[in-house]
Amino acid sequence: MAAAAELGNVADLALEEAFPAGIRVLVIDDDRVSLKVVCIMLKKCGYEATQCSSGKEALEMLTQNEGEFDIVLTDVHMPDVDGFELLEKVGLGMDLPVVMLSEDSSRETVVKGINHGACDYLIKPVQIEELKKIAVHVLTWRNANSSIDPELIED
């Protein structure tokens, strides 16, 4: 894990360079009200936001349109395919950063999310300031997944 100081610099750089114009976010939530609020906040931050109200549909979208999104923001508790299943299939299977979003702030759920590979876990109602930072996850994810040179890893 990068030292906290290093992460700080990555964040600054990210916010300067790629912030966040053009970063394409897929937002998944079965609650249309929450979905609308989050999407408009994302647009205000400069992201391109696409709404989806079903985990199942989201999986189809992601499978059929690989490379169309840079990051996924998903609610945890959904009736068909829930946030954890998405985390598994998307985070691991498709190599996309996944941020979880929920009213559920219970320790077990948050820990479960992070342990299953979520980049971040935001508690609803989410503030626009927190959404600005998800751009950093896109960069950190790209850096982590592309720059690992096997030659450099010591035994």
């Binding site: 009200v33 929450s34 609308k36 609020v37 906040m41 205000k44 508790h77 009213e103 609803k124 109602p125």
Partner: protein, 151 residues
Amino acid sequence: MDLSLLQRTYSDLLSSLFTEGILNQQFTELQQLQDENNPGFVYEVVSLFFDDAGRLINELGSNLNQQVVDYKKIDAHVHQLKGSSASIGAQRIRNVCQGFRDYCEANDPQGCFSCMQQLNQEFLTFKSKLETLFKVEQQIVASGGSVPMIQ
């Protein structure tokens, strides 16, 4: 009606909604999200809430009236209502949902019924007051005035 009177009415209404705890800071966040690119945003999202929450509350009512009460199903609905009310700043509704979830977890029918009643009440109050607020807002805009914002 006189524009400044309309504006004063609006401000008073909005103020009282905050003082009574019907709305919280989250609602102000929504108002700040509204701009030239998203002119009717607050009205749209609150209207969406009226629809979806109304439906959820009806569902809840009928679920509670079943012979065998499915607390898990009820909890799932309340959880969703809690989330949507929180996202628009409907504080009192959100708080009732919190209590409701606790009673669901305890499989407590009386507690659930009591929360159901509170929920009905709070939703009716919320809907009626916000509809009034929007009406006054529309009148202000129609008169060519600007809508006062609470800081």
